[in-house]
Each structure stands twice: as structure tokens, then as C-alpha cells.
Subunit: 291 residues, 2 copies
């Protein structure tokens, strides 16, 4: 059956009462000492064990993970192999997967990316993309996902300080560039709305600007929002709530470092248990704010 990313993720969120995903951003330097000792110089093997254990720890708690491919590409081809292997493992563990790849290119080149990252073997259920090149760069990612109902999240408003220098550029009416991008995203997603009322074409909207998130929620009523910025980047669950629809659907909040490195602040329990506890606390915190 083909599926529809936004519908399926919405159902999984409700099922687990957890409108969150855990970002898999593995840095060798930050791994538990026990793993570093076990694998010595083989950093990729160490990352494999770490990711495998993290996926096992969070799979009962959250509906989805968001592997950040940059942390895999540090290790070039061996890291890329690990990225796709971990997607396969997560899927077998009942998780949905958002590949945070933020790719951008045009026409046949975007098509090539999409064949590798959307419709290829062990690809995630959705990927993030950058819209600076316009719809030429986006439609191939959508069309390669048609057969399996896969989704994309287009960068609209990022959660980092210097993003505003670029994204706040405003026209004569006061409309900002990220709002212009939001209009493009809403238009692009109109043809792929599922039974949840949400499109397979979603938006990345940082949690650190809740007033803007509320405006964007109105401008993009059919978009599923992927919301970074919780935890390590400073946003609270209340800030994140601005990205949801009134019924508590329409968004998924991500936390990465505050969950997967939770053992740093909780050294008295097994490190996997610390990760699982942090995932549970994160899910409960956001669920309480939105449901």
C-alpha cells in the first residue's frame, strides 16, 4: 500500500501520544566511554553501536527519528553506508524516519539526489530540502516520493541566530523573505494533501520564534511543521506549541543532543536508560503542551 507520509506520521504520533522525534546526530567525541573503549580506532563501528542502541532505546517511546546525515558524512562513504543501514534498522523497529539532508539543486541534479535519498533502497519516509533554487529544485523530491507517499520538509524559518540576517529581508509591504518562502511551500503542497488535512510537502519552522511560528501556521494550514530548536537550542515546549494546529496535530518537534547525550547529565544509570528516560521526558513535555 502506498501510504501518505503526513497521514502516517500523524497516526503514529497519536498512537504514541508523542508529537516528537529524536535527532540522531552522532559525534564520535561525545560517545559513551564504554563504546569508545570497545571499538578503539574504528570510529564508524563505534557510531554503529551507539546508533543501534539509541534506536532501540527510543523506539518504544517516539514515533520517529531524524538522522542528520552530516554526522554520517564526516566519515565519507563508510558513514553514508551507516546512515542507510540505520534507516533500515529504525524501520524494522517500527519507527518512521525523517532524513535531515537539506539538499538543494535543480532539475536533473535534484532528480539524482531524490533517486538516492527518496526512492532508493532504505530511504527515509521524508527528507528535508532547501528551497533557495525554487520549485525546479523541489518538485523532483516530491515526484520521486509519489510511489511510496513519501514527504519533504522545506526550510522556511531556521532556528539559528544568523538565519534572520538572510530570512528577515523584507519587501515594501513588510513581508519577509521566509514568509515569501512559506507562500511557495503552501502552493507547492496543495496537490498532495492527505486524509489528515496535511500535505506530504511540509515546512521546517524553528521553535525559537513562537510568534512567527503562529503566523506561519496560518499561512501554511496544510503543512506539517518539523520544529527544531527544543532543548539544546533553548526553546521550551510552550514555544513549540505555537507550531501545532488547535487539535494538537500538524507538527513534530525534534530534539537531538539533549536526548542522545542525556547520559552526560545522568551518569548514575546505564547510558541507554538515560537516553530512554530523556526521550520519555521530552515526549511528555511536548505532549502536555499541545494535547
Amino acid at each position: 500500500m502506498p501510504g501518505h507520509f503526513a497521514d502516517d506520521l500523524t497516526a503514529a504520533i497519536i498512537d504514541k501520544h508523542a508529537p516528537v522525534c529524536v535527532g540522531i546526530d552522532p559525534s564520535y567525541e561525545r560517545l559513551p566511554e564504554s563504546i569508545k573503549r570497545k571499538f578503539g580506532d574504528d570510529q564508524v563501528a563505534a557510531l554503529r553501536e551507539f546508533c543501534t542502541e539509541v534506536i532501540g532505546a527510543v523506539a518504544p517511546i517516539v514515533p520517529a527519528i531524524k538522522p542528520q546525515i552530516a554526522y554520517f558524512e564526516v566519515h565519507q562513504s563508510a558513514g553514508v553506508k551507516l546512515y542507510f543501514d540505520m534507516i533500515a534498522l529504525a524501520r524494522a523497529s517500527g519507527l518512521m524516519i525523517i532524513g535531515d539532508i537539506k539538499r538543494s539543486d535543480i532539475g536533473s541534479t535534484a532528480q539524482a539526489y531524490a533517486r538516492g535519498h527518496v526512492s532508493g533502497e532504505n530511504c527515509p519516509d521524508a527528507v528535508t530540502v532547501n528551497g533557495y533554487l525554487g520549485s525546479d529544485g523541489l518538485t523532483p523530491f516530491i515526484s520521486e516520493g509519489d510511489a511510496d507517499g513519501r514527504g519533504i520538509f522545506i526550510l522556511v524559518r531556521t532556528s539559528n541566530p544568523s538565519g534572520a540576517v538572510i530570512q528577515d529581508f523584507a519587501d515594501a509591504s513588510g513581508k519577509k523573505f521566509y514568509q515569501h518562502m512559506a507562500e511557495q511551500v503552501a502552493a507547492l503542497g496543495r496537490d498532495s494533501v492527505g486524509s489528515s488535512g496535511l500535505s506530504r510537502v511540509g515546512a521546517v519552522v524553528g521553535a525559537t520564534y513562537p510568534d512567527e511560528a503562529r503566523q506561519l501556521r496560518e499561512m501554511m494550514p496544510e503543512q506539517l511543521f518539523l520544529v527544531p530548536g527544543y532543548g539544546a537550542q533553548g526553546a521550551t515546549a510552550a514555544d513549540c506549541a505555537a507550531s501545532f494546529r488547535p487539535d494538537g496535530t500538524g507538527a513534530i518537534v525534534n530534539a537531538s543532543r539533549s536526548v542522545i547525550y542525556a547520559f552526560d547529565k545522568n551518569p548514575d544509570v546505564d547510558w541507554r536508560q538515560a537516553v530512554g528516560q530523556a526521550a520519555g521526558a521530552f515526549a511528555a513535555d511536548v505532549a502536555d503542551a499541545v494535547f
Copy 2:
């Protein structure tokens, strides 16, 4: 010795009298029939042979190649291995390499990309990046290249039709978004200008809008321009000339499909010879327009 990307590329361009690079965008479907027959179902092996032969054919003629990583990522980890292997081969063949990766992310994630693509093993001399996330997303690519003097090209004005919908968004003074981006790029590159007067921080400026390229040349006097759009995308050498400084330096024009698939239009010679001839004609055409 550390080197400086813009200085070194400028010297290599003058040395070969060829202000051009050849884009390596290998699609299995478009390979010569002789290669498809030889390798059967092993598409990556076929691409390896094709890229190896193309690099050999163009190395005496042009100063640089621009591998487009999307065409390698189609084949996931095996393709990424081939990408880095081909960079090593090109370097051993005396070519400079611009990795067309158009990555974009922030902070520690951008740092991870940069460690994989700028300062890691067999990395290219420069990479393309997307500036939508602001300087947070760009400085890691610059700083990881400090030790080897490596460069970046930031997307400013792309050569595709729908790019204008995004990039022409204008403020009250009429300044367009891509011009706003150009100002950021000029500021970001100010601290890394070499003896050529050009910065290690360059800009991607499509050839299909020569009037805009002339304006951008004035706004970014210290930027090396990477100019796509020649050939298959419709721009002429005269269009491309708008991106150069009056002395004929300051830009490098890329052509991909019109060179590497030149055998399609020249079936009477060995395919490698057709590629070499097309590279030579391309280099001469642009050199005549700018020198």
C-alpha cells in the same frame, strides 16, 4: 605549503589559457554503449570507468573539474566512495577540483559537513554551499579550509527559471534578495583575499542573466565567480564574459553535459576523443570571449 584556492585556480586558468571547468555529472543511462556492455549490471563500476576516462581526456585541457555529488549519491555509499576516489584521481592528474555539494546547515552540523567535505581525506579544493541559513552555516566551511587554503562558492544567483521566483524577492529600495545575499558573501570573504585580489569565498552566479552578472561583479569585486549555464542551459561565451573582471580573471565557467556527453553529437570518433574535443572547443570559446 598551504596554498590559496582563488590564487591557485587563477594561476592554473592562466597557465592553461582556459577559464573553464568541466562538470562531472555521470548518469548511467547516458554512458557510451561500450562501457554499459563491459560492466553489465555493475553501474558503479561503469561510472568509475567513464569518470576515469573523462578525467584523462580533459586533464590536459582544463584547469579544473566540478564533480556533482548528486550523481554519485544516486548510488548511495558506493557512489560516495567513487566521488572521493575520482577527486584523488583528478588531483593526481594535475587538476583542481570543485566539489558541487550545495550543502547547507548550521553550527556543529555545518562543521560536520565541512569535516567530511573540506578537510577530510581526498576532499576537493573548493565546495559549493547554500547560504539560506546565514553565516552560521558558512563559516565552518571556511574555517575547515584554512589549513589548506581551500575555498567555497556560495549560491547567489542560480541559472534555473524558477530560481527567480525566490531570488528576485525585492525590498522597498528595489534591492533583490540575491543582491542581499551578494552583500553577505562580499562581507564574509573580506578576510580571506589572496595575492590575486580574490577571496577564498566565491559566489555561484548563473550565466543566463548577464546584466545581473555585471551588477554582481561590481557588488562582489573580490569574489571568484563559478558560472553555470553555458551550453546545455543556453548561455553563450559572451553571456559568461559578464562575470569576469576587465583583465579576464575572476571567474570560471562550467559546462557539464555538453562536454562529457559530446559523443552523442560526434559519433564518428572515439568517445574519449569527442569529449576531449568538446572540452577544447569550450575552453577556446570562453577564452576568446574573456582574454
